[in-house]
Amino acid sequence: MTAYNRRTLIVGLAIAVLIAGVVSYFASANPDGLEKAQEELGVAGPAHQAVEVPAVAFQEYNLKWLGEGFWSNAIAGVVGALVVLAILLGVGRLLARGKARTPGASSN
C-alpha cells in the first residue's frame, strides 16, 4: 500500500473511531425526527408484519452482553465502523482492480 493510502486510512479511521467510540456516548437520547413525528401523528405501532432480526452481538448500539454503558457503546460503535470499513475496502479493491493510479497528478 502506498504511503498516501496508508495515511488516508490511519487518519480517517482515527476520526471515525473517536466519533463512534467516544463522542457517540454523549449523543442525545431523545427520539429522532421520524420517531418524534410518528409520536405526534399518533402512529401507535407497526401496521404490518414486522421482521425481527436476531441480535447477534449488539442490542442497538450496545454490546448484547454488557447492557448500556460507555464501553459497551464504544465497542459496538468501533466494531460497526470497522465492519463498514472492511466491506468497503473489499468492494473498492474489486472495483479498482486492474486500474493503475491516474497519471498526471503527484502524490506523496
Partner: protein
C-alpha cells in the same frame, strides 16, 4: 430517519427495494469508471465516518434529536455511484447488526438516505472541484443540503402514507409539514457539516476526491 420494520406495506417496500436495487446495480456498473486506487481508502473511511456520525444524535427541537444523513456529503466527495455504494453498505450493516432500520425497509431507507441525497450531492460536486470554491458554493451546498434532508423526510412520510401507516384522522399535508419542519433544522446541520467535511477532505486528500479526474485537473483542462 430510518424506517423501522413493520411500517411499510409489502408493495411499498418491494417497490422501493426494486428501485434501490436497480440504482445500486447501476452504481456498481458505473463505479469502475470513477475508480482509482487512491479512492479505495477514502471510500472505506468515509463509510466508517458516516456510520460513526449517525450514532451522534444532536438536539434539534425540545424533545427531538437528529443525526447526520451523510448521503449528500458522500455525493460531493465521491460522486453518486460510489456514494450510493457506501451509503447502502452503512445502512445494511445498521439494519443487519444493529436493528437500526427494518430489513424489509432497507430499499426505502437506501433510497431516502442514499440514492436521492447522493444525486443531489453529486450535483454540487463540480462546484467544489474548482480551484477556489467561493461563497456561492457554500450557499448552494447549504440550500441543497437542507433540501436533501427535507426531501428524504417527506419522502418517508409519503411511503408511510402509501403503506396506510398513518392514522386516518391525520391529513397528509399536515404530516408532510410536521416531518419537513422538524427536518429543516436537521438539514441546516447537514448542510453546514457537509461543507465543513468536504473542505477538510479536499484540503487533506484532493487527489483521492478527484480520482480519475485528477489528470484533467492537473492539465488545467477542468471539465
Amino acid at each position: 430517519m430510518h424506517i423501522a420494520s413493520g411500517f411499510l406495506s409489502p408493495p411499498v417496500w418491494a417497490g422501493a427495494a426494486v428501485v434501490s436495487g436497480g440504482a445500486l446495480a447501476a452504481s456498481l456498473a458505473l463505479a469502475r469508471r470513477h475508480m482509482d486506487e487512491r479512492r479505495v481508502p477514502l471510500m472505506g473511511v468515509m463509510g466508517a465516518f458516516i456510520f460513526a456520525a449517525q450514532m451522534v444524535n444532536f438536539p434539534v427541537l425540545p424533545g427531538t434529536s437528529g443525526h447526520l444523513g451523510g448521503g449528500f456529503l458522500l455525493g460531493i466527495l465521491l460522486g453518486a455511484p460510489l456514494g450510493i455504494i457506501v451509503m447502502a453498505s452503512v445502512l445494511a450493516v445498521q439494519a443487519l447488526l444493529f436493528q437500526d432500520g427494518g430489513v424489509e425497509a432497507l430499499g426505502a431507507n437506501i433510497f431516502m438516505m442514499g440514492v436521492m441525497p447522493c444525486l443531489l450531492g453529486a450535483a454540487v460536486r463540480g462546484l467544489w472541484l474548482r480551484p477556489k470554491p467561493g461563497a456561492a458554493t457554500y450557499a448552494v451546498t447549504l440550500v441543497l443540503g437542507i433540501l436533501a434532508v427535507v426531501a428524504g423526510a417527506t419522502g418517508v412520510i409519503l411511503l408511510l402514507w402509501l403503506s396506510d401507516s398513518l392514522p386516518h384522522s391525520i391529513s397528509l399535508v399536515h404530516a408532510l409539514g410536521l416531518m419537513g419542519g422538524i427536518h429543516a433544522g436537521i438539514g441546516v446541520v447537514e448542510g453546514v457539516v457537509s461543507a465543513a467535511v468536504v473542505r477538510f477532505v479536499l484540503t487533506m486528500r484532493r487527489e483521492a476526491v478527484l480520482g480519475p479526474l485528477a489528470a484533467d485537473y492537473a492539465k488545467g483542462a477542468a471539465p
